[in-house]
């Protein structure tokens, strides 16, 4: 047979087939995500975990006799799973909607994403606790054993089945939603729930069923995936980020776009494996970036004219808790005492992460953009700093500088791409862009893959201060932290900060006053990346290691969690949040795999019950007390002004 561009056709066809298979899963999963997002405005991050539950469901059914030996249950095979599991997973989805999701419909979209991130951590964490990271085997069903030789390649029957079924399911769903009366009701219910309610339709139940349907699709995809991929707790974790990228590429609210993009991107990924294997895990994210430049609304998306960031901040400008001039000295005093009460290394961890969270809060709290990829900046700086110290043998101040420059450059680039979109899309885009860095770090030789860069020398700061001494190291870290704190305080209390505030409060109005709001967002984003870089670089020197977890999306989730617990858009929130999260992680370390579960649970609880965070809630309490006092003393005066109006 002829070779195509130096590639044997069997290999090419083989990868095309794998691409088409992967694409089938991307299509089925992004379809579910697009439906849930389009109808419910929920960025269903837990979709990957629900897909994973589907695969485990199939595995449970086959192993019923072993799992419950006393009940004498039969082993139920693949076809039973194909019917029962989607129903079961869908039912679990309905339950999740009833308990959790419906509580955030009326809130900013960001909370839906945060909630589902927490739920995903809980579910995946629980499976991890029970089954460990290793996968379970699920054989190809008897009926589909074997395959056929097409002449140029061998086609296993099961794979052909997956592609056919996936396409049928996708287009069936598309037809249901876009072309039937039921779908019309559904679309109407999301456009104008009150009106549809007036028709006598039970809107909450309709939304619940929609969510259950989307989740059921994930469960269905999970069953389909079981014979092909390893059934493991992590199987949904990476795919969900790809799915988000697919949805962005496909376009806003476009179910059709999600399906086509899913299939197409699977094939492109497969082809990349043939021609440039190293790039295959990032190609989808790179395509997303390119699409964003040329078609910000996505390939099949509709024009967007929304100019609105979301204001989730809970800071009150008058509160003394926002007075950085006082708190700078209080924090400095606490910082001086801290290493004598706890281990310096523990204190340094708090400082590094507090600085990271401060940086993150600049974007999330003060610009109102839900960024979900700050690990890229933190981790890039950690790696560059570590490399400069370990390999080039540069002094620590220079290493840190290089790290920060790298993080700032990547921040400016990612920011320029991502600020084209707001809300949930911003989160999905930053998440996907950060995955490029993650996969690069996994593959590049200088980052040493899973090992990371170890034994980073701390060296002599400015040739004077020996950082190998842990007290020296601590106080240098403290100084950097305080400088970062002061810098953030200055940014939010500068003319720039004022403009930023106006953008957050009412972006269209800020534009109509002549401000090019995207430029303000970009500068704030870049500053945030820079400070994240400072945090990551210092961390690499303190802990003498840059590891793969520094660029992993869980690190981005950590920054989010710290900011959320402490209080979004408050000055002290990130610091308080970092102290709480680091302390919890330390205390929970004893429980091993349970840490993720508990972190996820905290996420969920924060979204449901503590949206203002610790500091924001405290500020609200103080402000209310103040107001009560004022009312008590000014009540007569106020009544008069009311009359005057």
């Amino acid at each position: 047979m002829m070779e195509l561009i130096g590639v044997p056709p069997a290999l090419l066809m083989g990868q095309l087939l794998i691409g088409l298979i992967n694409g089938s899963f991307y299509a089925m999963l992004s379809l579910g995500v697009a439906i849930i997002f389009g109808m419910l405005r929920i960025g269903n991050f837990v979709h990957g975990a629900q897909y994973m539950m589907g695969a485990f469901g199939a595995w449970y059914l086959v192993n019923l006799p072993d799992l419950f030996p006393s009940l004498g249950l039969p082993s139920l095979g693949y076809f039973w799973a194909l019917i029962l599991v989607p129903l079961a997973v869908g039912a679990i989805g309905a339950l999740m909607e009833w308990i959790f999701i419906r509580r955030v419909y009326h809130l900013e979209h960001a909370y839906g994403l945060l909630l589902t991130v927490g739920l995903a951590m809980v579910i995946e964490g629980l499976f991890n606790v029970r089954y460990g990271a290793a996968g379970q085997q699920y054989g190809v069903p008897e009926f589909f054993k074997g395959g056929t030789n097409l002449g140029f390649m061998f086609l296993p029957y099961y794979r052909a089945w997956v592609i056919v079924v996936a396409i049928a399911v996708c287009f069936g769903t598309w037809f249901l939603i876009e072309r039937t009366k039921l779908g019309a009701y559904l679309r109407a219910a999301t456009e104008n729930p009150d009106l549809v309610r007036a028709f006598g339709i039970n809107v909450p139940r309709m939304l619940m069923l929609t969510y259950a349907f989307g989740v059921g699709l994930a469960g269905f995809a999970g069953v389909m995936a079981a014979p092909i991929y390893q059934v493991g707790p992590q199987m949904g974790q990476n795919i969900i980020i790809i799915i988000f990228a697919v949805v962005v590429i496909g376009g806003i609210g476009s179910i059709f776009g999600a399906i086509i993009s899913g299939l197409m991107l699977g094939v492109i990924e497969g082809l990349t494996k043939v021609f440039w294997p190293e790039a295959s895990s990032t190609v989808i994210f790179v395509i997303m970036a390119i699409v964003l430049v040329f078609r910000p609304a996505g390939l099949f998306g509709k024009e967007t004219t929304a100019h609105a960031v979301t204001d989730l901040s809970s800071g009150r400008s008058g509160s003394f808790l926002e007075n950085g001039r006082i708190w700078f000295f209080i924090l400095a005093a606490i910082g001086v005492v801290l290493p004598f009460t706890v281990y310096p290394i523990f204190a340094m961890k708090i400082l590094c992460l507090a600085l990271f969270a401060l940086a993150y809060n600049l974007v999330f709290g003060y610009v109102g953009l839900l960024a979900f990829g700050h690990a890229a900046f933190y981790g890039t700086s950690a790696y560059v700093t570590a490399h400069a110290a370990a390999v080039w043998g540069l002094p620590p101040e220079l290493c840190l500088l290089l790290g920060v420059v790298a993080a700032t450059a990547i921040g400016a680039l990612f920011g320029a791409l991502a600020i084209r979109r707001q809300g949930l899309y911003f989160a999905m885009i930053t998440l996907a862009l950060a995955q490029i860095v993650y996969f690069y770090v996994i593959q590049a030789p200088w980052t040493h893959g899973e090992d990371g860069i170890q034994n980073v020398p701390r060296g002599m700061l400015f040739g004077l201060i020996d950082l190998r001494n842990s007290m020296n190291m601590y106080f240098v870290t403290l100084v950097v932290f305080l400088a970062g704190f002061a810098f953030v305080y200055r940014i939010i209390n500068s003319p720039f900060g004022q403009t930023l505030k106006s953008v957050r409060e009412n972006e269209p109005r800020a534009i109509s006053l002549g401000y090019s709001t995207n430029q303000f967002k970009l500068i704030a984003f870049t500053l945030s990346a820079m400070l994240s870089g400072v945090a990551g670089g210092v961390k690499a020197i303190v802990f003498q290691i840059a590891s793969i977890s520094d660029v992993f999306f869980m690190t981005s989730a950590d920054a989010l969690l710290m900011t959320l617990i402490g209080g979004v858009g408050t000055l002290l929130g990130p610091v308080v949040g970092a102290a709480i999260v680091v302390t919890l992680q330390n205390k929970l370390a004893y429980f091993g795999a349970w840490v993720v579960v508990m972190q996820g649970a905290i996420f969920v609880l924060c979204v449901l019950f503590l949206r203002k965070g610790v500091v924001g809630t405290l500020q609200e309490f103080l402000a209310n007390r103040e107001a009560r006092k004022r009312v008590a003393t000014e009540a007569p005066a106020k009544a008069e002004t009311k009359v005057a109006q």
Binding site: R490, F496, T499, K501, S502, P508, R509, S512, L513
Partner: protein, 255 residues
Amino acid sequence: MNTVPEDYIIEAQGLSKHFHGFAAVQDVNLKIRRHSIHALIGPNGAGKTTVFNLLTKFLQPTAGTIRFNGRDITNVKPAEIARQGLVRSFQISAVFPRMTVRENVRIALQRKLGTAYHFWKSVSTLSVLDDRVDELLDSVGLRSFADYSAAELPYGRKRVLELATTLALEPEMLLLDEPTSGLGHEDVDRVAALIRKVSANRTVLMVEHNLSVVSSLSDRITVLAAGRILAEGNYETVSRDPRVIEAYIGGTDDE
């Protein structure tokens, strides 16, 4: 064809906007005379706000050109339009709710200070604007509310604050989107008087439902219906036009 040179500040030619096949605005030719108050009226869904969004570039027209002071601004970004002196208000009062009244006005002033991007400077450097802010607040009667947060103001005062903020930019032309909607009688009169006051040496284009405000303020009226211009002229001409009467009576009944 009329060849007498008229001084138009805005000239929109063949303006159209389609949303997925639905023509919200179709082939609208609109000329606004300098230093006039021009009202844009029409039944609900006539495309008034869409025209507004097109003129201020919050929407990109599907077809047509827009000239402002003779310059083609069809492809200019909305923030740039504002910097050129064409400033709009919004249908729903557009204030910065958690900033004080003073800060609201100051935001508009601080752009010209040239330090909007200065993240390293203290916010206290903006105090040089305080006198001008107070002057503006005085002129609209909001001085005594200066330290309230904008959210605390009653609705009518919010609209006044919005006007004060807009005026702070010293715009050449104002586009007011339903400036009196949702206001009580007293507030309507106050805002109408304010509009008349600020229209000196300025051009005002407003979308307005309150026909008594329209009749008392505007020099010229354009009536839109179903995305097209139905009639144009002064209040007497327009109000006697049978097509206009039909559009209003046969249209929605919310007037």
